[in-house]
């Protein structure tokens, strides 16, 4: 749907909102302090998406990953602008809760997400915890260091290595192929 938006197809706009609206909304709510702030963030994310739709390349990422990338960048900008931890209202999932890689089998998760779930499940517990605190709660390295009682340098190293591990797995075409096979 993103290439069609880049070509100016109005029908694709509605389709994009229908297809990816729930994802953007979930990300925005999780990293926004209030529902009103989440609404503002969601509007900004879609505005970014319309501008960036022409950059989407199916061979590099799936649409959900592309949309989530755009969304995360905007949300992180907003988080940093607020300079404080968001008081989220919708954190039903604990910060250390592991994703279920088997969700991919019922079509709920794209291949990259399934791979990422598998990758993070194999990380050391503290490394996994650091990544999930950063991803799920949008905590800064300093905040994670405070929460976990770790030196800042250790947190940075754990986060960077953990993300690099996920990135390496996503860059492996063989791994991606295996993830989408039944």
């Amino acid at each position: 749907v993103l290439p069609r938006i880049a070509l100016g197809d109005a029908a694709a706009v509605r389709e994009c909102i229908t297809r990816h609206g729930a994802l953007v909304w979930a990300l925005a709510r999780r990293l926004s302090p209030t529902p009103a702030d989440a609404e503002d963030a969601t509007q900004e994310i879609f505005a970014d998406l319309w501008k960036c739709a022409g950059r989407f390349q199916p061979g590099i990422a799936s649409e959900p990953v592309f949309v989530a990338t755009i969304a995360r960048r905007r949300l992180i900008d907003r988080l940093r602008a607020r300079k404080r931890r968001p008081q989220t209202e919708l954190l039903s999932e604990g910060p250390g809760e592991l994703p279920d890689p088997n969700r991919a089998s019922d079509g709920e998760m794209c291949a990259e997400a399934s791979l990422a779930a598998s990758a993070i499940a194999k990380l050391r517990p503290e490394q996994r915890q650091v990544l999930l605190l950063a991803i799920l709660q949008g905590l800064s390295h300093e905040e994670i260091a405070s929460v976990m009682g770790m030196p800042l340098g250790t947190v940075k190293t754990l986060a960077r290595r953990g993300l690099a591990h996920v990135r390496a797995l996503l860059s492996d075409p063989g791994a991606q192929l295996a993830a989408v096979e039944p």
């Binding site: 109005a10 505005a47 592309f66 990338t69 988080l79 809760e97 997400a113 399934s114 991803i135 993300l163």
Partner: protein, 279 residues
């Protein structure tokens, strides 16, 4: 460790930090310098994939928010595709008090004329019958499915709070034979004007300007709805409304002819068409 490997290590650190928590302006500048005009979003994609793996997106986007996003999207492209709208002039000009009285009187008469004043005695002429000519848009006739003012108009017409009123030409010669309508949604703060038979203007000499009368503003200072041009056409012209202030409940839309770029406050010397909202 060689300088090149050190540089690569630092780039990966910054890319990872950007993906997880963002960068300070200094770090962003450092990364830009190290990447030398290129970029690498692979860390961002990895973080996004992790986010997808841990996000349950079972709650749909609220309908009102989805509608607003769609209208905003259509408005953005409509504004880009229709005739260019120049911002109104910022310079405030002194206005003679007498001019205000005339302007206020014109408005009162126009509004009174709409409100059941017998035809023939009104400043407002009887609207022309609906145009039957093929409807075209003035800008490159985009396909119906493409982003266009007409797509935005159709979307607005489906809104539950839509205001839809017809234009009525005044006795000003500039409005003779003009017809069309206005579509406006308060919830979306968006609208479109459609004109048929409105004379083409020379943008170097004058431009049309929309004024929105709203309870939030004095009738002497209605909301500036944006300036626009009409090119020679035998069909309809659809123009997105670009109000400069929040519109709480429009009571009257009026089009004046102003100097290029528009004005902050109109002398209302040439009100060509009006559309009153029945309450």
């Amino acid at each position: 460790m060689t300088a090149r490997r050190q540089s690569k290590k630092r780039i990966d650190e910054l890319l990872s930090d950007r993906a997880l928590a963002g960068l300070t302006p200094e770090e962003g500048a450092e990364l830009a310098a190290l990447l030398e005009g290129t970029d690498d979003e692979s860390f961002d994609r990895a973080a996004a994939a992790l986010d997808l793996a841990t996000t349950s997106d079972g709650t749909p986007l609220p309908a009102h928010l989805a509608a607003k996003i769609e209208v905003d999207a259509l408005r953005a492209l409509s504004a880009a595709e229709t005739v260019p709208l120049r911002p109104p002039a910022r310079r405030r000009e002194p206005l003679p008090y007498a001019g205000w009285l005339v302007a206020a009187a014109c408005f009162a008469l126009a509004l009174a004329g709409w409100l059941r004043t017998p035809p023939g005695q009104s400043l407002v002429e009887t609207p022309a019958p609906p145009a039957t000519a093929a409807r075209v848009e003035p800008v490159a006739s985009p396909p119906a499915s493409a982003w266009s003012p007409s797509a935005m108009r159709e979307k607005l017409l489906s809104m539950p709070d839509v205001v839809h009123v017809d234009w009525s030409p005044t006795k000003d010669p500039g409005g003779r034979g003009a017809s069309g309508d206005v579509v406006w949604s308060n919830g979306q703060q968006a609208g479109c004007m459609r004109f048929h038979g409105l004379a083409a203007n020379d943008p170097a000499r004058s431009q049309y300007q929309l004024w929105i009368f709203d309870p939030s503003q004095s009738a002497k200072t209605p909301i500036d709805g944006g300036v626009f041009d009409v090119e020679p056409t035998t069909g309809d012209v659809i123009v997105p409304i670009t109000p400069k202030l929040h519109v709480s409940g429009p009571t009257l839309f009026a089009i004046t002819v102003e100097k290029p770029g528009g004005v902050v406050v109109s002398k209302r010397e040439h009100i060509v068409v009006v559309a009153a909202v029945k309450t």
